[in-house]
């Protein structure tokens, strides 16, 4: 167990290194730079700007300095917002993005798992067909199509919910809803498939033969193994929710991390982009590790080695 965690944490180092290097190389290979738009600044001022951010040093020196600073989580000030440290921007943006994504994931689990379980118990009956057809439809509607439709319905027609921004609690409803629908649907499908597999197994028959109530058999015995596919999906799901929230934050003008990433990339804000990409990557790697640990806890047959 300890060795497993240690090995995984050690494996994260080369992965992060690859990500950091790729990002660095991509940005430096690209034509253009962060101070391209300020055409009329005098050469001397430009030189000062470059040296202030260390951009006049040889590339490999810049690279090593960047890596050394990244280990310390010091990415320096943003180019676009010179009076703000990248660290602060990430901290601020992440709180917002985490709230958006967290609610979406929670809602997806709270709705998806029960629906998938019910569908599995009622396999091939009306409830199963209806919920699974709806689920497939839900998987197929992209969040950025759903979001405008929700806005038309709830903000422009019914006038009950705000169409944008991130202010009061009611401003959370539409973005979270638009983000979570496809995950509700996907998790329902995964739960159904997992439960169907498990409900056929011998130990379930044993549990029933003991005379346990069907409710107990399903909720206590079957569900624990049946949601394994869902657990292993949580890693990719988190990654996709992060990606989806980039768009949702754009649509609803939410000041989250995804928005800073897009703005940063467009403005060639090297430090900001590097910081956000590395932060997201480490976050995802950590999440995947937790998912694997949860897997071993739910299914004792899985050996963590």
């Amino acid at each position: 167990m300890t060795t497993f965690v240690l090995r995984r944490v050690l494996l994260m180092v080369p992965t992060l290194l690859v990500i950091a290097t790729l990002t660095f190389v991509l940005m430096r290979l690209a034509p253009g730079g962060p101070f391209m738009s300020e055409k009329d600044i005098p050469a001397k001022a430009k030189q000062e700007l470059l040296s202030r951010y260390g951009l006049d040093r040889p590339l490999h020196v810049q690279y090593l300095a960047f890596l050394a600073n990244a280990v310390k989580l010091e990415f320096g000030p943003s180019y676009k917002y010179p009076d703000r440290q990248v660290k602060e921007i990430i901290a601020q943006g992440f709180v917002v993005s985490a709230e958006l994504g967290g609610w979406a994931l929670l809602l997806a689990l709270l709705v998806g798992v029960p629906v998938g379980t019910l569908a599995a118990i009622r396999q091939n009956r009306a409830l199963d067909h209806v919920s699974m057809t709806l689920a497939l439809a839900g998987v197929s509607v992209p969040s950025f199509v759903l979001a405008p439709v929700l806005v038309i319905g709830f903000s422009l027609t019914l006038l009950v919910l705000p169409a944008a921004l991130w202010t009061g609690p009611e401003s959370r409803v539409l973005p979270v809803l638009a983000l979570c629908v496809s995950y509700v649907a996907y998790i329902a499908r995964l739960t159904r498939a997992g439960m169907l597999e498990v409900l056929r197994q011998d130990y379930i028959r044993t549990a029933r033969a003991k005379g346990l109530a069907e409710r107990v058999v399903v909720a206590k015995h079957a569900l624990k193994l049946g949601i394994l596919p869902v657990v292993s999906y949580l890693g990719p799901a988190a990654a996709r929710i992060i990606m989806g929230s980039i768009v949702i934050e754009q649509i609803f003008a939410i000041p989250g991390l995804g928005r800073y990433l897009v703005v940063g990339a467009v403005n060639r804000d090297y430090t900001l982009v590097m910081g956000v990409v590395l932060f997201y990557a480490s976050f995802l790697l950590l999440l995947n590790l937790l998912v694997d640990l949860a897997y071993g806890w739910l299914d004792p047959r899985v050996e963590l080695a």
Binding site: M12, P14, T15, V18, I19, L22, T23, L26, M27, L29, A30, P31, G32, Q123, T133, L136, A137, V139, S140, V141, P142, F144, V145, A147, P148, V149, V151, I152, L156, A163, S182, Y186, R189, L190, A193, L196, R200, P229, S232, Y233, A239, I242, M243, I246, V247, Q250, I251, L261, V262, A265, V266, R268, V273, V276, V277, Y280, A281, L284, L285, N288
Partner: protein, 312 residues
Amino acid sequence: MSIGLRPPAPVLAGDVRADAARDAPGAPRSLWSDAWARLKRNRMAVAAGGFLLVMSTCAALAPWIPGLADPAAQDLAKGAATPSLAHPFGTDELGRDLLARVLHGGRISLLVGLVGTLVSLLIGVTWGAVAGYVGGRTDDLMMRVVDVLYALPYIFLVILLLVFFSKSLLMLFVALGLVQWLTMARIVRGQVLSLKNQTFVEAARALGAGDGAIVFRHIVPNTLGPVIVYTTLTVPAVILQEAFLSFLGLGVQPPNASWGTLVSDGAKLLALFPWLVTFPGLAMSLTLLAFNFLGDGLRDALDPHGRRDGGA
């Protein structure tokens, strides 16, 4: 050399339409005719296939459909008209016919979906087949590469790639194809591992077939079932990714338009002209839904034991 091209008879799981095997007692049936029979019984999958056929034909032939307006022709006097007989989907703020724009957008979206999938197919199948067949350290190394790439938050790299370099269609194909091949490589490797020790491979080797011929002529064709299923599910995934990138302004660039850019443009004028979002959104959602239905049907038909993951 036809040895080995004939796949092993499918084993039917208890609840997976065992009746298909009972249809023609005694008559030998190939995997494909068996699968076809099972697919035809799935009405949703057949309907989805029909829809896709119609949609892709209309999209592909859009420039030559008589009576269809030119998607680029502006007519400011008729700007932002609600749907009518002359313009079934209405017009956009510049007076361009939305039906024509949706069909032409579908051309781009479907093209991106197909080419992106093809790129991922080529890389994924080759990578997985070689890793599985060669085995040992090479396999370890190749799969470790896949593991590391899996952990990359790819979308960020794609965003960077598109922002910093050209936003051309070619770059889009490359970027999207590169994202999608990993799962394909894993699927094919798993298949190859279980196939490479079967007797038909031994027979091929005994007949003097080289490694390359064994892998690509004998083993890979036997992995087609799962590969087809996963391919069907990759196309909508790629279309979705393209739309996502287009939504951020990084995908297809004007004057070209895809469903993604149409939805994105429409979303900006949502409060005034809601049909500019609903029609392209509907076209895209229905197409994705049809691909998913078809993929599900194909999985039940071709790969009765297939695990329900990937895609979406």
